[in-house]
Point group: C2
Chain length 493, copies 2
């Protein structure tokens, strides 16, 4: 059932996707939204088999998986509703000005058209929300693109169940068959073939830097390079300010430990670097943090390869010069990850890029700074991140404006007295960041704006009303927001 898909079968899926593209691209936003709700219904109807299979394949707890299933469904529904509102893919209409001098202005109207078939690579750490039926698939279909999913080799059966639900929903709703395809893979070959194929017009990926970079390089080698949206992880630095440390050392330590160890640290928003002032209250913070970490039981990671990499990468940081182990939970069986904290100085951190590398798992590196300038130097030295958090008292933000100015340049989401794990699915979410956190910081992987990755504007000049796409006609039958001659309105023309 989950055998490697042959190239011949992939060619068949690509041909069907291309055929579906030429049909589905003419669906209105309302029709696409309706299709997405049908797919959401089908995922909702999946029973225990989905959860038990995913639990067996990923070691993720049942409660977490049930929550993730709910999130996945609400992504489909939320993106569908946002699409249907006209807010996400904004329509622009500029009326003809036949009497303008020296030249008349023709009628020009702009809407969005899908890029073409999209390949989605499943993530290991979100078997539902960022995999087969995840955010990339939902946003590509919202944009009007057929999707071919490459199942993740760590949860192929889960992927197969999800794919079955989507395929059935498509058939039941009378949607074009090639709107969704599903590929298993036991090597890099199928992924490489898909990304290099001329039919494919965009790629969605969530995973490691190495994996993402390989896909970007493949795209650049194509005769027609295509957008590869790769979300490639992050160490999500947290900056603690002095007053906050003095006022709430224990509370902050507990919150940090909870965020760092949540889900065995297997989130792209895991806060792997914690930058704290080297002041007397730090001892209290460290003691509490060490207690919390030591008391966190080792737990099974997503798969044995990830656990092995965790131990290797953790050891690599721990053996750097000027890095001191602070606390470590007891090691568990093979395939588990035990939480750990190490410590270094800003000076040592700035001198050694190795320390800023992501250790995927519940490992945190505490970096102490002696002055505001050192904290700013760290902010300037770090690479692009998904998130950066500032922990402080409100009245110390003004005094730290240089630090805040420096960190804004380096991340997609900036948090105040919050930890970055837990990514809300909402309009205002930006789940992206400057390279190497993401391949293109101008787009997001989460929230309805994620749809924009897979659509491009197209203008219709002097086009007769009767044959315009529905959203561009004089009568606003879809009831969407439109920018008409520079004003946002839902009115007819």
């Amino acid at each position: 059932m989950t055998d490697n898909t042959s190239i011949q079968e992939i060619d068949n899926l690509l041909a069907k996707a291309q055929e579906a593209f030429f049909i589905f691209k003419n669906y209105t936003v309302k029709q696409r939204a309706a299709a997405m709700h049908k797919i959401a219904d089908a995922i909702e109807a999946l029973g225990d088999e989905l959860i038990t299979t995913a639990n067996a394949e990923t070691n993720l707890p049942v409660a977490r998986l049930q929550g993730e299933k709910g999130r996945t469904i609400s992504q489909w529904r939320g993106y569908a509703d946002a699409l249907a509102s006209g807010i996400v893919l904004p329509v622009r209409i500029d009326s003809a000005l036949p009497d303008r001098t020296p030249l008349p202005r023709p009628s020009i109207r702009k809407t969005y058209t899908p890029l073409g078939p999209v390949v989605v690579f499943c993530a290991s750490n979100f078997p539902f929300a960022f995999s087969t039926a995840g955010g990339d698939t939902a946003s590509a279909i919202a944009a009007g693109c057929p999707v071919i999913v490459k199942a993740h080799s760590a949860h192929p059966k889960t992927s197969g169940i999800m794919a079955g639900a989507i395929t059935k929903a498509i058939a039941d709703a009378g949607l074009p068959e090639g709107l969704f395809g599903h590929v298993y893979s036991n090597s890099f070959e199928n992924g490489t073939y898909l990304v290099s194929h001329h039919t494919v017009k965009a790629v969605g990926f969530t995973g490691s830097y190495g994996g993402g970079k390989a896909l970007i390089d493949l795209s650049n080698k194509r005769e027609e390079p295509i957008p590869v949206f790769a979300e490639m992880g992050s160490v999500n630095p947290v900056f603690l300010l002095e007053k906050k440390l003095n006022n709430a050392a224990e509370e902050v330590a507990k919150q940090y430990a909870a965020s760092l160890t949540l889900g065995v640290g297997q989130f792209c928003t895991n806060p792997g670097i914690f930058i704290a002032p080297d002041s007397p209250a730090l001892a209290t913070f460290i003691n509490t943090l060490a207690e919390q970490i030591a008391a966190t039981p080792a737990a099974a990671m997503l798969h044995k390869g990830i656990a092995k990499a965790y131990h290797t990468n953790k050891s690599s940081v721990l053996t750097q010069p000027n890095v001191e182990a602070v606390a470590q939970a007891t090691e568990g069986a093979e395939g588990t990850g035990n939480a750990a904290i190490a410590m270094t100085t800003a000076e040592a951190f700035l001198a050694n890029k190795q320390m800023a590398q992501e250790v995927f798992g519940p490992f945190g590196l505490l970096v102490t700074y002696k002055s505001a300038d050192e904290a700013i130097a760290i902010a300037k030295a770090i690479e692009g991140q998904l998130t950066i958090s500032i922990l402080g008292e409100e009245d110390e933000l003004a005094a730290n404006s240089a630090l805040i100015n420096a960190v804004t340049v380096k991340c997609g989401r900036l948090l105040f007295n919050n930890f970055p794990t837990g990514v809300e699915v909402c309009y205002a979410m930006q789940h992206s960041g400057p390279y190497p956190a993401c391949s293109d910081s101008r787009f997001t992987a989460v929230g309805p704006d994620a749809i924009k990755r897979f659509a491009r504007p197209v203008s219709y000049q002097n086009w007769p009303d009767a044959v315009l796409p529905e959203e561009l006609k004089n009568e606003n039958t879809l009831g969407i927001w439109r920018t008409v001659n520079g004003e946002l309105t839902k009115d007819n023309l």
Copy 2:
């Protein structure tokens, strides 16, 4: 005055740009818009010297240059006003839901932040509107990015005058000095240095495929690849339908000749390929077209290199097998271009990619088709284009829906009974297209949406109102459109 800028001077400009970036990125959209109007005022105040210098450097007629100056000013003003409205860089606010179960939702608010210093390469064919003070510069500054312009070697003095006006406006208005820098170049060295420099975060380019591709490749070799928006030209196919040919052969021939020869054919939207039905009325069309072309005097092109390339590329198409010369205007002196028309069949065109290459200048290739299927085959075979035009009677559009479905996939702008030369600067304009017309079809080079190329969203989570960027505060002091909890509004929270 227009000597090659040294690397040392470029380093100085880059350092100043970086400094300006950290200041200018905190300007509100209203403050940035005000800065842009100051720059527009300064361009408006430039006198005859600008026009006479540009005329001497580019051979473009005075009237055209005066019009282009007006367009350039209105780009600055129009983009400024669009920016200040909140329509172009949409703000999203999702309020905190402290009582939500199982987990409360924090306040999340998203606005845009500039990418960083941008390098703009001037175009040869628009010394004002797509050069020093052109659309790329205006949209980058609107986004909040400092700009370093690389002057075009064909009009360095014009570039210097424009740069002087911008620099003075920046000084007079008390804006950060490094907001604008200007570099002369007598080789590829300076451009390569700029695009490869870690301070630079995006590139704007208008020119040839070779030039654009070289910049894209440079970006991909960087440790941190950056967005290169390259508009690389197009042959802008025009498809004529049968009824229209039968009803208006002479009129269409005259319109086509006018569009093809406008400005000695030196527009990226020049309609270089004309696809017409092989029916009896075609003879009338060809006769009229031939008369018009023969009667068009040869005229000086932008510079001698462009004229030389025109003759070489024209000859290259004319010497392909199955290509027949139809009409040619009398040759002029060195440096001029004479209009010409050649003809081939769909079958020959489809068999020879050489015929679809851009010939920059007033040269058109007439491709005749014997059936709707042949026209569709051409639409499917051509590469990505800036524009595609359909000339037809309204009642023959329905019967040609397969052709229209095929061409939409290949262009950024689709015209009906219009010719593509003359690019309106308005919200609804899409001046872009699938690769190789542009490096990224999801963005536009013309219209206020061009600003989006140079900004990225950033979310603020749980951030105190007092220190939020102005556009995200509860009180909507800027009066901009915002998406608040899924609804577009100008209300305060």
